[in-house]
């Protein structure tokens, strides 16, 4: 059967997340972006929404089961409040969910409960590398087996909360395949950049670069143990997460510019009454809905284990990149000169929008 109706549980979660997104995240977003600092209280409150906890089974300290669809719905809703704040709240998931998806039973027992049962703590993952043709399936960071260890060498960038992280997953190229390795805080040879890296947006999210100079981790720290793990599902869960966040940002920009267009007068009418503006808004709404449904289907396929789920996740993420750029750009355009001024949030959403082509690895559901 087809159905486009979230379950009652999902609706309750969406409602709670939506209130948090508007009352807390959106309220804090402007200053957080300007001052490059998001209050920890806002992050902690977002953590208490329990989105991640609800996707972890009881056996590992959570209170639900992993559902990509639910994760997507929550991510859409939270990013509607603010992208940087959402990424901050979701960061521990970058550590926990890959272990849930690809880890051994021992790894799950050992690593997941301490994160899930506590307050928000900085656990993270390092995937992105500083090269224009960064490809998660052909990483330049390498892992080499050496005795009882793996030795990790390379450079990473865009790693959230790396400086304080209790532990992180570092992805590296092991004999041509991307594999994750659990690296504890303060590992020898792991150098976190002194300064936060600065991007076009996401100022509120502390991001760092990493150098790995022969970082040794025991073989037991390879995600999935000796047999390793399949990177496909992890990447796919990354992609639908990003697409969902893009939908949230786009929806924020669309609604803001729509409401503005209904207030702003020119030539004796509201500008929304001009087809030039009204048609832009109609197309923005249409594109958001199109990508949203595409992403829902990909998420559903991941949940039920359809063969082409990973491909669909890739298509959804690809479509989302163009969609969010188009929508946020038009939102700025509809506000005209005011759209270019940082008092209105649309310019920030436009800066957010351009990042989605680059963010693979910053979120997972």
């Amino acid at each position: 059967m087809y159905s486009f109706e979230p379950s009652e549980e999902q609706k309750m979660l969406i409602d709670a997340v939506s209130r948090y997104a508007v009352n807390d995240l959106r309220a804090a977003a402007h200053d957080a972006e300007e001052e490059s600092k998001l209050p920890q209280s806002v992050v902690s409150k977002g953590w208490e929404m329990g989105v991640l906890q609800a996707s972890i089974p009881e056996g590992y300290g959570g209170f639900g089961e992993h559902s990509v669809v639910t994760g997507v719905l929550a991510a859409e809703e939270m990013a509607y409040g603010d992208l940087a704040g959402t990424l901050a709240v979701m960061t521990p998931g970058l550590f926990v969910l890959p272990i849930l998806l690809g880890g051994t039973e021992e790894q799950k027992q050992q690593y997941i409960p301490p994160v899930i049962e506590a307050d928000w703590q900085p656990y993270t993952a390092a995937l992105i590398e500083p090269s224009f043709d960064f490809d998660p399936n052909e990483l330049k960071t390498t892992a080499k087996a050496d005795g009882d260890d793996y030795v990790l060498t390379g450079e990473k960038t865009y790693v959230p909360f790396a400086k304080d992280a209790e532990a992180m997953i570092v992805y590296a190229n092991l004999d041509g395949a991307t594999q994750g390795f659990i690296v504890p805080k303060g590992a020898d040879g792991l150098a976190v950049g002194e300064e936060r890296i600065k991007l076009m947006s996401l100022n509120a999210l502390p991001l760092y670069s990493l150098k790995l100079e022969g970082v040794r981790v025991p073989k037991a720290n390879r995600l999935g143990g000796e047999a390793g793990h399949d990177m496909g599902p992890i990447l796919a869960a990354n992609r639908v997460a990003l697409a969902a966040l893009a939908v949230g940002v786009a929806k924020a920009a669309f609604e803001y510019s729509r409401d503005y267009a209904k207030e702003r007068e020119a030539f004796g009418v509201k500008i929304a009454q001009k087809q030039a503006i009204a048609f832009m808004l109609a197309e923005m709404a249409t594109e958001i809905e199109a990508i949203r449904l595409l992403n829902w289907e990909a998420a559903w396929k991941l949940d039920v284990g359809k063969e082409d789920a990973a491909k669909d996740a890739y298509l959804a993420a690809t479509g989302a990149v163009d969609m969010v750029m188009m929508v946020t750009d038009r939102a700025v355009q509809i506000l005209g000169g005011h759209g270019y001024i940082r008092e209105h949030p649309v310019e920030m959403w436009m800066r957010n929008g351009r990042g989605f082509a680059t963010f693979t690895g910053l979120a997972i559901v």
């Binding site: 087809y2 267009a261 929304a272 298509l315």
Partner: protein
């Protein structure tokens, strides 16, 4: 619970219709494009018999009135969803031929939507008869396209004979010729004519009338030569003192101050727009599949999963086409799912049409471009699909009209706020 599993009855129909599309449509697709106004009777007869045998009778969705076994869990209705899938597949076969599928098309849909139970019985039974039978909807006039309130065809009641007297000229009537001309192979059809019963009343005076084939004063005056969908006849019809019985009016014969009747007519578009979108999507899927097949034959593989920076241009184009096609299709599914579940879907319906109109045009254009000399030649069907697809963004409300509908919905505006 969000779900995207194709319902079993639909999957079964898909399987059957795929065979029809491959064996009865594709082999003659080019022939009927090159021989405009010839009629594919083989296909028509086959579809008529097949639909009769399956009890479908008409492509218009059935009223779901079967007695439900109270002990069985109630299955959600899927009539429109089934229809959307069927139309998508036979349009994948050939959209021009789809448009000559017997069963009444938009004419029957109008009776279904606005007719009384007696009228439905009287006018719709013929589609399950011995011979394939057609009906058509006559709305457009030379000076009234998307602006249907500008319709000038009149219907005047002759109180002496209790007949409506219709005068006017209709254009762009899909299947108008097959509905009115009694071919040896076809049954007696009808057209549904939009006319005003009170020119002063504007939209409030607009009504539709069933005009039977063979009615004196009704004449097909022209068959258009078109860019695409050439297998489908597009007729001009003149009505000159055409008399129809009193009870052939669909809806109330009195003019009220409201435009309720007119809005009711517009509401049928909420059901038909995603279906028309589905036909366009069938064409675009045909084009995209052909491109991928031709590329594969040349050893070009689409490397899904690569970052954009590492893809070739051809790969990027194909991936974008897939994104467009699938997302547009899901919008169609959502719109018909809402219709099946009796959720108001005017917004989603028009949105699906906006999106489909855009993407099927782009996909089929790109398909021709990407295949270069192999795309532009009449040796393959790509150039035909490019011509066929364009109509999706024009009929059943142009892309612009549907943008207007979408815009009014998202802005909470009425017609007078945004025109």
């Amino acid at each position: 619970m969000i779900e995207f599993e194709t319902p079993k009855p639909i999957a079964q129909q898909q399987y059957v219709l795929q065979t029809v599309a491959e064996n009865m449509m594709r082999p003659v697709s080019r022939y009927f494009d090159e021989h405009e106004h010839e009629i594919p009777w083989d296909y028509i007869n086959f579809m008529h018999q097949a639909m009769k045998a399956s009890g479908a009778g008409s492509l218009a969705p059935k009223d779901e009135k079967k007695e439900q076994d109270p002990n069985k869990p109630k299955r959600p209705p899927i009539g429109y969803q089934l229809l959307a899938h069927m139309l998508e597949i036979i349009s994948w076969g050939d959209v021009g031929m789809y448009l000559v599928t017997p069963g009444g098309g938009l004419g029957a849909a109008a009776v279904q939507a606005a007719g009384s139970p007696e009228q439905k019985k009287k006018f719709l039974a013929r589609f399950a008869g011995e011979k394939p039978t057609f009906a058509a909807m006559c709305m457009t006039e030379a000076n009234a396209g998307s602006d249907t309130s500008a319709i000038r065809t009149t219907a005047v009641l002759d109180e002496k004979t209790n007949e409506w007297v219709l005068n006017g000229e209709k254009i762009f009537v899909t299947a108008g010729d097959k509905a009115l001309t009694e071919y040896e192979q076809s049954g007696k059809g009808f057209i549904v004519v939009w006319a005003t019963i009170d020119p002063e009343a504007g939209r409030a005076g607009m009504r539709s009338f069933v005009v039977e084939a063979g009615t004196p004063g009704v004449k097909v005056t022209k068959l258009e030569h078109k860019l695409g969908i050439r297998c489908s006849d597009t007729a001009s019809i003149v009505l000159q003192d055409a008399r129809v019985p009193y009870d052939h009016i669909l809806g109330s014969p009195t003019v009220e101050k409201t435009t309720k009747g007119f809005k009711g007519a517009m509401a049928t578009f909420d059901a038909t727009r995603p279906l028309v979108a589905a036909t366009g999507i069938g064409v675009a899927r045909a084009a995209l599949e052909e491109v991928k097949k031709m590329l594969a034959e040349q050893g070009v593989e689409i490397r899904y999963g690569l970052p954009r920076q590492k893809l070739t241009n051809v790969e990027r184009e194909v991936i974008d086409m897939e994104v467009m096609l699938r997302s547009a299709w899901l919008m169609v599914i959502k719109a018909v799912w809402m219709a099946d579940n009796r959720k108001p879907n005017a917004l989603e319906s028009s949105m699906s049409k906006v999106k489909a109109g855009d993407v099927v045009t782009k996909i089929t254009q790109k398909a021709v471009e990407l295949m270069g000399p192999l795309g532009y030649t009449r040796d393959t069907l790509l150039e035909k699909w490019f011509r066929d697809a364009k109509i999706t963004d024009i009929y059943e409300g142009t892309g612009q009209i549907n943008r207007l509908v979408v815009a009014r919905h998202i802005l909470g505006y009425r017609g007078r706020d945004l025109r």
